[in-house]
């Protein structure tokens, strides 16, 4: 598995010319934006109860010893400018952990992750909302968490409010919002970012049918602007549509890495169907 991944990682194209030919003929290679080398991230397993003070004092460790589960291990990956990289795999394959690591929320326990450029991640929408504050105040707070400068936010404020379609609700406390309204608000703020590297974790479906179409259009626009997109999904048809490359993860290991069509064909064959059930995709 590992050998397969490291071989194909250097050559995204199906036919591989000899090293000397490439150096002579090819234009300068696209800039490498993400380099993941032998990445490993673990979590603790079988934690029936959280560490109590007593056990911590007895063991002398704040973090008691537990069996480790490697959510990711020996994963290597190189992404260049202009690529759209899909990450696919069954539940528990380590897709989200990879996203968290690329978004610099989790730090690698093994190996290294090198990222050149500004990364933005759309992992969970509206996680930082303060329920007691108005939608408007929450836009400011959320934007501050995302690192959107105040001046830029002031310029974009009306656009965000318009896009969210919240109307008069924008000055009501977020407590009174429906789940869809919160997601819309979160989505509207997040998409004002213009990152070089965009990490997405299946947040494409937001709100009702009309808003969904609008948000998909906004997503595509954002994807056109960014230099590299890494997107996690269960849906191979979505990935087939937009990706140039694909990483197939299974139980935290790289199953295959290479050109999108090839990998997705193999994935669909293995999973026994052209696509996952749409209902499952939404979950």
């Amino acid at each position: 598995m590992t050998a397969e991944s490291s071989n194909s990682s250097d050559a995204p194209v199906a036919t591989r010319p000899g090293p000397t030919d490439a150096a002579a003929a090819a234009p300068p290679p696209p800039r490498r934006l993400v380099q993941v080398r032998d990445l490993g991230v673990w979590f603790r397993l079988h934690r029936k109860k959280r560490t109590s003070l007593k056990s911590a004092l007895l063991s002398g460790h704040l973090a008691a010893k537990h069996e480790l589960l490697w959510a990711l291990r020996h994963v290597s990956l190189e992404c260049h400018e202009g690529q759209v990289v899909g990450v696919i795999g069954p539940n528990g394959a380590g897709k989200s952990t990879l996203c968290l690591t690329l978004a610099r929320i989790l730090t690698p326990d093994e190996g290294e992750v090198r990222i050149e450029g500004q990364v933005s991640s759309l992992l969970t929408l509206g996680a930082g909302f303060n329920r007691e504050l108005s939608g408007r105040a929450n836009i400011q707070l959320y934007a501050a968490f995302l690192g959107i400068p105040r001046r830029r936010l002031d310029e974009k404020m009306e656009e965000i409010i318009d896009f969210s379609e919240l109307g008069g609700f924008i000055d009501e406390p977020v407590r009174s919002y429906s789940t869809g309204m919160r997601a819309r608000l979160g989505f509207s703020v997040v998409t004002t970012l213009d990152p070089e590297i965009l990490v997405l974790d299946e947040v494409l479906s937001v709100g009702d049918r009309a808003f969904r179409a609008k948000s998909e259009e906004r997503m595509r626009q954002m994807m056109r602007q960014s230099k590299l997109i890494i997107i996690v999904s269960h849906s191979s048809s979505l990935l087939r549509e937009i990706c140039t490359h694909c990483l197939w993860l299974e139980q935290g290991r790289t199953r295959r890495w290479g050109a999108a069509g090839e990998i997705l064909d193999a994935y669909d064959e293995k999973m026994g169907g052209t696509d996952a059930d749409p209902a499952e995709t939404d979950a």
Partner: protein, 286 residues
């Protein structure tokens, strides 16, 4: 270590926005708004006043007016207790946010320290106005000692942050701590000179001296040593400092300033290092 600190400086907008939303949300929904912060200290003040002066009849003349004397200590402790208490819970409470957006998590406990500090500074102003109105023990009319107040407040913020940072990590790793901290903070208040002044502590310790003299291996100046140890509590110095400046119109002894300064540096450095150590690991536990 430096990189994280500069990261924090770069994200000072976030810290400001967090403090602002903290203040806003605490005032937004309730009719009394930010008065809630003061309701607790004022109630405590009334209770202690009623018990100590009314029931026990133990009001000392140099502590009069006793409510103002009490309030000095109660709000100082309240700043610490609120910041430390919420910090132990905050990383767990903000878990979805921490797992969704990369940001220096240090801003979460620090925003608690700062927002509570703003309430506290308002409280100190109240204490000052109250002691002007009802008259404290400052009979000379010399208000120059008030210049000590900003310096004390600056040291206090650093010390409280030095406790809040490690507590936020420990609170996320040990679930029991958020329950335990309430009791620890209560014990801490009664051990600090809240209901009494440090002169009473000194007197109480002096009563040990005759007994200690009978035991050969105990040092002669036992009470002085014990008193010095007692005064290592930074809040004993801070409370005494505020009382000296506002209530008595006196200066805090220079050695206490020195102790306070050293403690502020040590506590904040250790607190920062502990936070650095556990910061990213905590994400896997919450």
């Amino acid at each position: 270590m430096i990189s994280n600190l500069s990261n924090l400086v770069a994200r000072r907008d976030l810290l400001r926005e967090l403090v602002r939303s903290e203040l806003r949300s605490s005032t937004a929904e309730t009719r009394l708004g930010w008065l809630w912060w003061f309701l607790d200290p004022l109630l405590l003040m009334l209770i202690y006043w009623a018990i100590v002066v009314g029931v026990l009849g133990r009001g000392k003349e140099q502590y009069a007016p006793y409510p103002v004397f009490l309030l000095c200590a109660i709000i100082t402790w309240k700043h610490f207790a609120s910041a430390a208490g919420t910090s132990t819970r905050i990383l767990r409470a903000k878990e979805p946010l921490i797992k969704a957006i990369p940001f220096p998590t240090m801003v979460l406990p620090l925003s608690q320290v700062l927002s509570n500090f703003l309430f506290f500074s308002f409280g100190i102003a109240v204490v000052f106005v109250a002691s002007m109105l009802v008259g404290g023990q400052n009979h000379s009319g010399d208000y120059v000692p008030l210049v000590q107040v900003p310096a004390l407040m600056a040291l206090q913020i650093v010390i409280v942050a030095g406790f809040a940072l490690p507590l936020s990590c420990f609170g996320a790793l040990l679930t029991d701590l958020s329950g335990l901290i309430v009791h620890l903070l209560r014990i801490g208040f009664y051990m600090s000179p809240g209901l009494f002044g440090i002169d009473m502590v000194r007197d109480a310790l002096k009563r040990l001296d005759p007994k200690a003299a009978e035991i050969a291996w105990l040092p002669e100046n036992l009470s002085a040593i014990l008193f010095s140890i007692y005064m290592l509590n930074p809040f004993a110095i801070l409370i005494t400092g505020y009382r000296n400046a506002i209530f008595y119109g006196q200066y805090l002894e220079w050695r206490y300033w020195l102790i306070l300064l050293i403690e502020a540096v040590i506590l904040s450095c250790i607190g920062y290092r502990i936070f650095q150590h556990y910061d990213r690991r905590v994400i896997k536990f919450i």
